[in-house]
């Protein structure tokens, strides 16, 4: 308080509005504000966002329900249960090319730390990460993503499982890239 009253007349007069000088000067500087959520800026291509369960070109799921992602997960965010593909008439149907598919697949985004170890663990490249990052909600249940939410959308040439393997193709043909989208 000892300095008070030491300034001159003008400085004392402008002191109450002196702070606006900063505001005024800033108005002429470059703006860094992002207009999120109206404008969404793309992330870096390898940004760790929401997961996706990929499909083979004919729509069959790549996931074999091996649970290696769940095993690798340091946050225990993933739950998988495998089951048998049953393409006998009247059976529960075929979801993936081999013997086994992921019947239950859940990722808990309250737990996920987006480290990507699950992606590294996946032996069939079924699980990858998208760049989608808008994962906020006001309740727990909606942040546990189920298989339907995680599955990649059907692209052209894909049909939704359950359905049979492409004619004349075996499991290994899928992994060797011999199966294309139009069922050949």
């Amino acid at each position: 308080m000892a300095e008070q009253g030491k300034g001159g007349f003008f400085s004392e007069m402008f002191a109450p509005v002196g702070g606006f000088g900063v505001t005024f000067a800033t108005m002429f500087k470059k703006v860094y504000t992002e207009e999120y959520p109206e404008v969404k800026r793309p992330t870096r291509p390898r940004f760790h966002g929401r997961h996706q369960l990929n499909r083979h070109p004919d729509g069959l799921e790549k996931c074999v329900g091996c649970e290696l992602c769940a095993w690798a997960c340091p946050a225990d965010a993933i739950l998988v249960e495998g089951a048998d593909n049953d393409d006998t008439p009247g059976g529960t149907g075929r979801f993936s090319p081999g013997e086994r598919f992921g019947k239950v697949y859940q990722i808990n985004y309250l737990r996920c730390i987006f480290c990507g170890l699950c992606i590294e663990a996946c032996p069939t490249r079924a699980l990858t990460m998208t760049n989608f990052y808008e994962l906020a909600d006001d309740n727990r249940a909606d942040l546990i993503f189920t298989k339907e939410q995680l599955l990649a959308p059907l692209q052209g040439g894909m049909s939704a499982p359950p359905h049979a393997m492409a004619p004349g193709m075996q499991e290994r043909d899928y992994y060797q890239g011999k199966v294309s989208g139009d069922g050949s």
Binding site: A70, G82, G98, T124
Partner: protein, 844 residues
């Protein structure tokens, strides 16, 4: 896992015997007379492994000697329970043997075992036995051994599909683990792998994936050596070698699940567990099997509230490393969808309605209060539950009318159990599995080991293979189990066992140095059978053991769930015994009435002498012909977890916990305690807890609220050291005389049948043996039926139609499986040993 209770006996003085049910063997050791015979001195062999000196008995395999000093040599085909084979070559080590003795007589310097001169020849440590002065170098000290192991692993993996992500073994696979510890980092193989169609069914329950097989022959050796069902074998040669099945004979083994457990890769998998889980998901709980009185140590693996599989635990004193398929796979019955989770009370309209616990307990108490009550417990309850039933009957219902024998029984059997069986145990010199293995002669009476106590069968088979034990069976025909034991049959029609036991042939069968007689619970259907067996055991100096079929029977006997016995084998009519129990229970006196056995209870209820029944886990079909009438007439409180033929009549149904959801103890046929823990944590209450609540409602403090409370009380009470009931004396046997067209009924339960605990497991049911009636060719000719024809067997209450299998067996007898698909003997309305008529024809 062994729970042989040496510790607790050591803590107590010998004058203070404990009940077997409380964690100790009942009878004090009689003055050291039972001291084990001095073992002959064992030749020890000195050798070094990785430079570490080790001394092991002569004949030990190198791989076992290495285990003793903590050196693990990788292996696939080696298994301590199976004969050495040397099939996989993964366990190669470098061996040097001492050279020829020099002039001083001492062995020369160790010389490496070589193939071509100068080249080390690796040796399979799982087939080579130790020798004095041998120097073994494993992969830890010998670069040559390590390289050899890497080479073998690379060869094993050439045709292995590496489909670990979809393989059930993934995560607990010796091949996976050892490929990491003893394999090359990368494969040099660049060709196309040999493939086979994915999995083929060996049986409805066991699946074979031939691509994954490393040809270790563990499964074929197990089937051949341990189970004696050689239905699988290695076929073809070279790269095409594979495990094959006989086309015309299905793999109907009761022990096939063990091949799944010991397969070191994922070549054999169980259909029920297929793709269900991963080992790291599973939470394991040690326990005991609830299916039979063998008392196998098992592990229950569950995930998120569902039991997914059960495995055998290695308990050398009991089941070694094996269990039967029923124990492994029959655990789905609580989850078939009809579980009783809430109490049910019958309303005025006669319908069972869901009720709250207080409402149901009040209804049960109102129905039981002031009535003449009786208690029937099933054969599958734990000791603690049986103790609670016993205490409830005596202190709340004031009656001795309690019986656990919900099957064919006799007062002679009760006398036999009270005089000879109760309060004995392995530490008291009772017959054990080890005795069976060491026996020279074993006689089976009223007991079909493979069907009724499969682990007893496996131990007898081991005794037969290793020690040339002579097994003799008194039965109507030589079953497949007896054939696999290399046993001889003394043919006996039902009812004639008494005479056969008294004859010379039975004594001749026990002519060895160490004889054992195993009597089954079915001997109760034979008048004088137990007395004759006791006579025979005394005459020949044989040990005698009683092998019940169901897991809870022996424990129920020890806990006093039998009309003439109080806990610890105390006779009801002994004043001092009653006083001891009354003091422990804090009551002034205990009922002194004679009590009623099961048939007495049912007859009483049907006739009006018994007006209320407390029934725990019983099937009405086991209660005899009058069951329906008795259950209809009496006020029935049923404790069960699924609707049954008893809950259909019950006035109040109180839900209890199934095996996986409760803790407790079984007592196996030896008298050995087999504790088990609750695998699943649920709100379901075990029987003792429900009985405690019911007693509270009736205004009596029962004091059985927790396991600890019951076990404390039981061990404080201990076993009875005073006088026992007299043993049964021989009575004249009653042999029915069949008229033409009539046959004596013989029957026993097959291991896999329509038992309600096996519900919900279609893959297991697919391996059950089909129902067949058996008659001798003479009998079949008498009714005019040929092998394979359908015959109709008729009793007073009904008939069954099954295909006939003409068997080499006694004449005038027809054998039926007791409760198989399409053949339920209780439908006939006659017990075993009575007459039925057989006519050919009838649609099966």
């Amino acid at each position: 896992m062994t729970v042989t209770p040496e510790k607790s006996t050591a803590e107590k003085s010998p004058q203070q015997p404990q009940s077997p049910a409380s964690g100790a063997d009942a009878v004090p050791k009689p003055g050291g007379a039972e001291a084990p015979a001095a073992k002959p001195p064992v030749d020890m062999v000195e050798l070094t492994i990785d430079g570490i000196p080790v001394s092991v008995p002569k004949g030990t395999l190198i791989i076992r000697a290495a285990e003793q000093i903590g050196i693990e040599i990788p292996r696939f085909c080696d298994h301590p329970g199976l004969d050495p084979m040397g099939a996989c070559r993964q366990c190669l080590v470098e061996v040097a043997m001492p050279g020829p003795p020099g002039p001083d007589g001492k062995p020369g310097a160790a010389r490496q075992m070589q193939g071509p001169p100068g080249r080390m020849k690796p040796q399979a440590s799982c087939t080579m036995t130790v020798a004095p002065g041998m120097e073994v170098k494993t992969q830890f000290t010998s670069p040559g051994a390590e390289k050899a192991q890497h080479g073998v692993m690379e060869l094993l993996l050439i045709n292995h599909p590496l489909d670990c992500p979809v393989c059930d073994k993934g995560g607990e696979c010796p091949l996976q683990n050892q490929a990491m510890t003893s394999g090359r980092p990368v494969s040099r193989f660049e060709d196309i792998k040999r493939t086979y169609p994915k999995p083929i069914n060996i049986s409805s329950q066991v699946l074979l994936d031939r691509e994954r097989c490393v040809l270790c022959a563990r499964c074929t050796r197990f089937s051949d050596q341990i189970a004696g069902d050689p239905f699988i074998a290695l076929v073809e040669r070279g790269a095409l070698q594979q495990v094959g099945i006989y086309e015309d004979q299905p793999f109907e083994s009761y022990f096939s699940g063990n091949t799944v457990q010991i397969c070191p890769v994922g070549a054999l998998t169980g259909a029920a567990y297929r793709f269900r889980s991963r080992p790291f998901d599973l939470v394991s709980t040690p326990g005991a099997c609830e299916h039979c009185a063998s008392g196998c140590a098992i592990r229950t693996d569950h995930r998120r509230g569902t039991v997914l599989r059960r495995m055998a635990i290695n308990d050398p004193a009991v089941n070694e490393e094996w269990n039967c398929d029923k124990g492994r796979w029959a655990f789905a019955s609580p989850t078939v969808g009809d579980r009783i989770e809430l109490p049910l009370v019958r309303d005025a309209a006669g319908e069972l309605q869901v009720a709250s616990w207080p409402e149901a307990l009040a209804a049960a108490a109102a129905g039981l209060r002031g009535t003449k009550s009786a208690v029937l417990t099933g054969g599958r309850i734990s000791v603690e539950d049986a103790y609670a039933y016993s205490k409830f009957a005596r202190t709340v219902l004031h009656t001795n009318a309690i019986d656990f024998r919900t099957r064919q029984h006799s007062s002679e059997e009760a006398q036999f159990l009270a005089s000879t069986v109760v309060a004995t145990g392995p530490n008291g010199g009772a017959t054990t599995y080890a005795d069976l293995e060491a026996a020279t002669n074993v006689l089976l009476v009223g007991f079909e080991a493979e069907e009724e106590s499969p682990i007893v069968f496996l131990r007898l088979r081991k005794a037969f293979r290793r020690n040339k034990t002579v097994v003799t069976s008194i039965a109507p025909y030589a079953s497949r189990g007896l054939t696999k034991l290399g046993g001889t049959l003394i043919p006996a029609a039902p009812g004639t066992e008494t005479d056969v036991l008294a004859a010379d042939a039975a004594a001749d069968a026990l002519s060895g140095a160490r004889n054992v007689v195993l009597v089954g619970e079915r001997l109760a259907s034979v008048a004088g059978g137990f007395a004759a067996a006791l006579d025979l055991a005394e005459r020949t100096g044989a040990k005698l053991a009683w092998v019940p079929r169901r897991a809870g029977e022996r424990g129920a006997l020890e806990a006093g769930a039998l009309y003439g016995l109080l806990p610890g084998g105390r006779p009801v009519r002994n004043v001092e015994a009653r006083a001891q129990v009354a003091a422990a229970w804090g009551v002034a006196d205990l009922p002194t009435d004679v009590g009623l056995d099961m048939s007495g209870i049912i007859a009483g209820a049907a006739g009006g002498g018994v007006t209320s029944l407390l029934v725990g886990g019983v099937d009405a079909a086991d209660l005899g012909a009058q069951a329906a009438k008795a259950l209809e007439k009496a006020f029935v409180v049923s404790l069960d977890y699924r609707p049954s033929s008893v809950t259909a009549y019950a006035d109040v149904v109180l839900p209890v916990a199934p095996h996986a959801e409760k803790a407790g103890t079984f007592v196996n046929w030896e008298g050995r305690t087999r504790p088990f823990q609750a695998a699943l944590s649920t709100t379901a209450l075990s029987d003792y807890r429900v009985l405690d609540l019911l007693a509270d409602e009736l205004g009596v403090f029962l004091g059985v609220r927790s396991l600890a409370e019951i076990q404390r009380e039981m061990s404080a009470l201990g076993a009875w050291a005073g006088g026992r009931y007299h043993r049964p004396t021989t009575t004249a046997s009653l042999v029915p005389q069949p008229a033409p067209g009539q046959f004596v009924l013989a029957s026993w339960h097959l291991l896999l049948d329509k038992g309600s605990l096996q519900d919900g497991e279609p893959f297991l049911a697919g391996t059950a043996h089909p129902a067949r009636a058996r008659m001798s060719s003479v009998s079949a000719a008498a009714v005019g039926a040929a092998d394979g024809d359908v015959v109709t067997i008729t009793g007073p209450a009904g008939s069954v139609r099954v295909p006939l299998e003409v068997t080499d067996m006694v004449d005038h007898v027809v054998w039926l499986p007791a409760n198989s698909a399409g053949c339920r003997v209780s439908d006939l309305g006659v017990p075993v040993g009575q007459l039925v008529t057989v006519i050919p024809g009838g649609a099966s």
